[in-house]
């Protein structure tokens, strides 16, 4: 008898291959030309547009939408990518409801913003599907820039630095480039191996070489990089995971959500074992991604438990709705007290804010209570883009101050490259 959502324990293939394929298909496919035209028509071409202000990378949104509306999506893509080289991924993963679309005047007017994210994807996908890379490198400067970490911040920095004429070497600890785009984003948000395709496309600028399996600390030191390069950019992300600090956290079936999400991206979905009763502890995007994907894999009961009130939850209203519409139950104001089981988890006990304790049966538990900087060099003490000896910059999640979003990382990487350029050429 094949497994079903009701099969007890942590098992593979609760759903058929067809159901899995459907569940993990592109959540919001590219608009077709007609849809894009209709959506673009709604833009008012605002003066000093609020959507631009809301975009961490300052994309000229009204301009690119007008370029779509007038039948020139390639020009639109160039407008986007000149500010945000990962405009393709950001179009997929940005929480637009709290950024550009949240600021759209039509949100105020009608509660229905212009579909900026989907229009951005239409433009960038149109260009990238043609294999066009619209940027070229400036005359070689002879300067060498090292980038540590091939995530959104590092690649953004690398691209801009290469474009400005510097020779860039990227050191990446893992086997693939992309960082969280590759390893940390829900599969249905970046379907069809988009993260890898975007990296390949980005590297077409030239002048960037990537060394894989090279981690800062283990394989080289910051001092070595400083000695060898004219400038160093650190975009190493948050490699560590916060510990729950409760008894039972080492029981079988208890896992960090980031590892589960990574496994999903790198493994055939039918090979992923999932519980019947899944509990996700946490209230951020990672918690949502883990909870939703548990449901999509066929888990029967998925409960996401957050210690704070709804309004404090860092997953946006939209993300929360996405979770509940996928069949995830969200419990607010409940703090984990203990994880029960012997050998393997059987349930998680929580204390509700009012004082009542309750236990949710669980055969699988995902912890999503925040990531932390791992083995950080001393200079990353809380300020982004900090320079060290005038030679080292940092950006992305590892540098505090941002919103821990892909788009913020891209902006910081780009700005670091500009700062490096100014310093080196100054």
């Amino acid at each position: 008898m094949p497994n079903s959502p009701f099969t007890p324990g942590v098992v593979q293939a609760r759903l058929s291959d067809g159901e899995l394929a459907q569940n993990f298909a592109d959540i919001s496919p590219m608009l077709d030309a007609h849809e894009a035209r209709v959506a673009a028509d709604r833009c008012y071409f605002c003066h000093d547009a609020p959507c631009i202000t809301a975009c961490p990378t300052d994309i000229d949104i009204p301009l690119f939408i007008r370029q779509i509306a007038t039948g020139t999506p390639d020009a639109a893509a160039k407008t986007i990518l000149s500010q945000n080289i990962m405009g393709g991924m950001c179009a997929r993963v940005c929480p637009t409801e709290v950024l550009c679309e949240g600021a759209c005047v039509r949100e105020m007017a009608e509660g229905k913003p212009v579909e900026i994210g989907r229009l951005q994807r239409f433009a960038t996908d149109t260009l990238m599907d043609k294999g066009i890379h619209p940027f070229t490198r400036a005359k070689a400067t002879g300067k060498k820039v090292a980038v540590v970490g091939a995530g959104p911040a590092g690649l953004s920095c690398a691209h801009r630095a290469a474009m400005l004429g510097h020779d860039v070497t990227v050191y990446e600890a893992r086997a693939k480039a992309g960082g969280l785009n590759e390893y940390g984003i829900a599969a249905y948000k970046a379907a069809d191996d988009f993260a890898a395709r975007e990296v390949d496309w980005l590297l077409k600028i030239g002048g960037i070489s990537i060394h894989y399996g090279k981690a800062l600390g283990a394989d080289m030191t910051l001092a070595q990089l400083e000695a060898e390069y004219d400038a160093v950019f650190l975009g190493i992300g948050l490699g560590g995971v916060n510990a729950l600090g409760l008894a039972g956290a080492d029981l079988g079936g208890v896992q960090n959500a980031v590892d589960f999400i990574e496994g999903l991206r790198q493994t055939d979905k039918a090979q992923i074992a999932i519980g019947r009763d899944v509990v996700v502890i946490g209230g951020g995007m990672t918690a949502v991604d883990a909870a939703v994907q548990s449901r999509l894999l066929g888990a029967q009961n998925v409960t996401m438990v957050y210690r704070g009130p709804r309004e404090k939850m860092s997953a946006s209203e939209y993300e929360q709705e996405h979770a509940t519409s996928a069949g995830v139950r969200i419990i607010y104001n409940a703090a984990p007290k203990a994880i029960h089981g012997s050998g393997h988890v059987t349930g998680v006990e929580f204390t509700f804010a009012g004082g009542d304790d309750f236990t949710i049966p669980a055969d699988q538990v995902f912890l999503a209570i925040g990531q932390t900087l791992q083995g950080a060099p001393i200079l990353l003490d809380g300020k982004k883009l900090k320079t060290h000896a005038g030679k080292v910059w940092a950006g992305g999640d590892c540098a505090a101050g941002g919103q821990d979003l892909t788009v913020t990382a891209v902006a910081e990487g780009r700005d670091a490259a500009l700062a490096i350029h100014a310093k080196l050429m100054g």
Binding site: R37, V38, D41, Y44, C46, H47, A49, P50, V105, A109
Partner: protein
């Protein structure tokens, strides 16, 4: 409910909405379906002389321009008059009229510009029991090159001559349809009146090229790489048509001449505007071609509700109501002072008013850090551009300054009515 029944030059119809002479009225099948949908009357698509029918192109006949969401704003065509045999049309007209006695049935005509041709066609249509004829002096393409359509309509003497023939050889009420492709629309209207026309209808279509294909470098609509000017119609032409209707309605020489209003009528509101400017009824084509015959139901309910709200019991109460208010620029009150006012509750902070005023007008709108937009009364000349570019209707309004109030821009008190004819800057005043 207001009574929409109209009597236009003796032709009665249950409402003032007629379908104009065009493809929607070219055969019994269409016309009967239009009547079933509720149209008050039709002007049957233009008939020509007995003989081999005209031929149309076999490629695209229509070009268009669009607004947001591909809303059709303007349509042009290079279609000719009916390409069906004369007798077929005549038989169908008779059959439909007998079946639909309460609806207006007018026949559009276009024959060569000689007395015999007109005498002959008028004789041929006599038997159809149609209510009237409309003389097509408007078509700007195809037929004009053969000495018909706008080729006649652009020469007032020809209009007068042909109209006189029609009134001589027919007992039917005669409407003369005017081309807008002329410098002064009053001249052909006067000629029609002199010739004995019972009414004029306007506007026919405007010479136009809707677009150019930037790959093949051919005008649209394109026939085998070439294009020609076609007749432009639809919502885009309404302002031009309204002005021409108003000019005839208020001109001393043509005042009182019944007018059938044509040109971009799409909703009941458009129809009411034409009627307020003096049209006794309206004719519709593009709106029906865009949305189908059913739109007449909205026109009927909308006009009726409007008339009820204004206490009007018959369409005659509406016709011409705005004509006395159409004047020449020199008589406009220069002491009428207004200022734009932005309703902050309705404002969605798009800033279009600011961009328009700051970049292209009088720098009279201020923008704060938090995107609050306010009018600087000391700079505002009341041009109305901000009102026109604002996406939220009635968010920006023009507020009239009372007499005695100070216009902060000029520092002067608002005074009684005074116009250019007495203004000290007027050279002809100074000369006196």
């Amino acid at each position: 409910m207001a009574n929409l029944t109209t009597d236009f030059i003796g032709i009665k119809s249950p409402n003032p909405f007629w379908l104009a002479s065009a493809p929607p009225t070219d055969k019994a099948y269409n016309v009967e379906r239009a009547f079933e949908a509720g149209w008050g009357g039709v002007v049957w698509k233009t008939l020509g002389s007995e003989g081999p029918p005209v031929v149309n192109v076999n490629g695209p006949r229509y070009g268009a321009i669009w607004g947001a969401d591909r809303r059709l704003l303007g349509l042009n065509n290079i279609e000719l008059i009916t390409d069906r045999p004369l007798q077929v049309n005549l038989d169908e007209i008779k059959m439909v009229k007998r079946k639909w006695r309460d609806r207006a049935m007018v026949i559009s005509l276009m024959v060569p510009c000689d007395e015999e041709s007109w005498k002959d066609i008028l004789h041929r249509i006599e038997d159809t029991e149609a209510d009237g004829v409309e003389l097509n002096f408007g078509c700007p393409h195809g037929m004009a090159e053969r000495g018909m359509g706008s080729a006649v309509g652009q020469v007032p003497e020809y209009i007068e001559m042909v109209t006189r023939w029609v009134k001589t050889y027919s007992r039917m009420p005669c409407i003369v349809k005017l081309t807008p492709n002329i410098a002064d629309i009053r001249k052909p209207a006067e000629a029609a009146k002199r010739g004995g026309a019972d009414a004029v209808s306007l506007i026919n279509t405007i010479n136009s090229i809707t677009s150019v294909n930037l790959d093949s470098f051919s005008p649209e609509p394109m026939i085998d790489g070439k294009g020609t000017h076609g007749g432009y119609c639809g919502p885009a032409v309404k302002p031009i048509a309204l002005n021409m209707v108003a000019e005839i309605a208020r001109s001393e020489a043509t005042r009182g001449l019944p007018i059938s209003g044509i040109g971009g009528v799409t909703t009941w509101r458009d129809a009411a505007e034409f009627m307020a400017l003096g049209a006794g009824n309206v004719q519709v084509c593009t709106a029906a071609m865009t949305y189908g015959f059913k739109i007449v139901q909205e026109m009927i309910s909308g006009l009726s509700d409007y008339m009820d709200s204004k206490g009007m019991t018959s369409t005659a109460d509406l016709v011409g109501r705005a004509v006395p208010n159409v004047t020449d620029w020199q008589y406009l009150n220069l002491n009428y002072v207004t200022k734009a006012q932005i309703n902050q509750d309705d404002c969605i902070k798009c800033g279009r008013c600011y961009a328009a005023c700051e970049d292209t007008s009088h720098q009279a709108i201020a923008m704060s850090e938090d995107r609050t937009f306010t009018v600087k009364d000391e700079e505002c000349v009341a041009c109305n551009l901000c009102v026109n570019v604002c996406p939220v209707e009635n968010c920006i309004t023009m507020v009239t300054l009372d007499k005695g109030a100070i216009d902060e821009r000029t520092g002067k008190k608002v005074d009684d009515y005074a116009n250019w004819t007495t203004h000290p800057n007027n050279p002809s005043v100074a000369a006196e």
